[in-house]
């Protein structure tokens, strides 16, 4: 009978921990400050290190913390708003939008990209690698798939490998008349090569932005951009410089 069980559904420890830590971050820590190490924090809260780590992982996912092996855990700055699709209906690289060409090479796209491109499996496709730097740190890595048929003025292979070749491909691409584009965003985990480029461990959560570029002739290129999910807030339209502290939600 009256066992007065106020919390019949006990909150998981790591969840409660996360809440406590979150409040501590708001009140007692400045951006960039380093937290005590995991072993000490675990001891301080009287939990196993694995449990503490579960809480830290969530806070990192939410962009509140930044952890680096061999260094420590620091309080992350608010997410940077990176504009995606701001200049609508324009080829990538037409303006200085923070993207840096890295290289270009032949590639064998996966089935998914092939489907979007609408090309036959054997057809020659170029892949342009670019990285996006925002406020001093690289926030995204991109692979831009361009069927060779889209860039007939193809002196690309003659150009020596490196940024110059990437730029050459993009220059050719920008000759075409862009009819439109569409985009999708989903959650993914960083592949080993992207992770390296983004200074994260493989498997780190990323936002996958897939863009299709249309001409009258069909799909001229497909871009798959990998954004760091912990540090980025993707913005559409002109809300790039809006101040958002960290989480716009509250209990109703």
């Amino acid at each position: 009978m009256g066992t007065t069980q106020l919390e019949s559904v006990p909150e998981p420890k790591y969840w409660h921990l996360k809440t406590v830590l979150s409040e501590a971050l708001d009140q007692d820590f400045a951006v960039g400050e380093v937290l005590p190490n995991e072993r000490e924090l675990a001891a301080r809260f009287g939990v196993a290190r694995a449990t503490l780590r579960q809480a830290l992982e969530q806070l990192e996912l939410e962009g509140r913390l930044q952890r680096r092996r061999g260094v420590g855990t620091t309080v992350a700055p608010p997410r940077v708003g990176v504009d995606v699709g701001g200049a609508r209906h324009s080829w990538p690289g037409e303006s200085t939008d923070g993207w840096e060409p890295v290289d270009a090479a032949e590639a064998v796209p996966g089935a998914a990209v092939l489907g979007l491109l609408g090309t036959a499996p054997g057809e020659l496709v170029l892949a342009v690698r670019r990285t996006r730097v925002e406020q001093g740190q690289s926030v995204a890595a991109e692979l831009l798939y361009v069927p060779a048929a889209s860039v007939p003025g193809l002196s690309a292979i003659d150009v020596p490998a490196g940024p110059a070749r990437a730029r050459a491909v993009m220059r050719e691409l920008q000759r075409l008349v862009l009819d439109g584009q569409d985009r999708s965003v989903e959650l993914g985990s960083a592949r080993a090569d992207d992770a390296k480029e983004l200074d994260r461990l493989p498997g780190a959560p990323v936002l996958l932005v897939t863009t299709r570029y249309f001409t009258a002739a069909g799909t001229a290129a497909v871009s798959v951009a990998t954004y760091r999910a912990d540090t980025c807030r993707l913005t559409f339209g002109d809300s790039g410089d809006v101040q958002i502290t960290h989480d716009a939600r509250v209990a109703s």
Copy 2:
């Protein structure tokens, strides 16, 4: 000397496991099929259960698996493409876009939403709850914040709580002339109430879509929509029904 260490950087076990499982899913399993339970899988691969779980977690994050307590682990269908911002510059709820009004009530928005709304901390704000159902499952929960000042024809409080009241607020909102809107997408983790609505555990990864609705007078409303990151692919433009299997990327 010649210790012939081909793999000087040994891949983590869970990473390798993930790759193996991923290939097995492609080849030997159909959508909806249930996998062997975690204890058996761990034994089969000769790893601890925690290690196996790390691999499963990643696959779930990527939308390849679906795990439910008390039930089991099943192969997830491809992510549903949910249109976001398709009908540009229109109030929410003006067309049948899959959103279902649930309720409306007074609310005390957090600092972040207040900043976006541009209202004073004490001002009265209404919060409209809506859920979005796509292909039979609810994929998103939304809180639409409307300053009382935006809807002067405020008979909302008189209407009995429930969907009717939510609809009443939205009807008032749609009277205004919409000047524009902007949007941002970021990664978050589900709050307890949203998690319940989305049939997930608290802390599940979600995509947070924040939309600001402008009139000439300023920001008339702010919406914070919480999408299931495991099952959703957010689409912008008209790429809603494009076939994407699961991951558009390949090694270059």
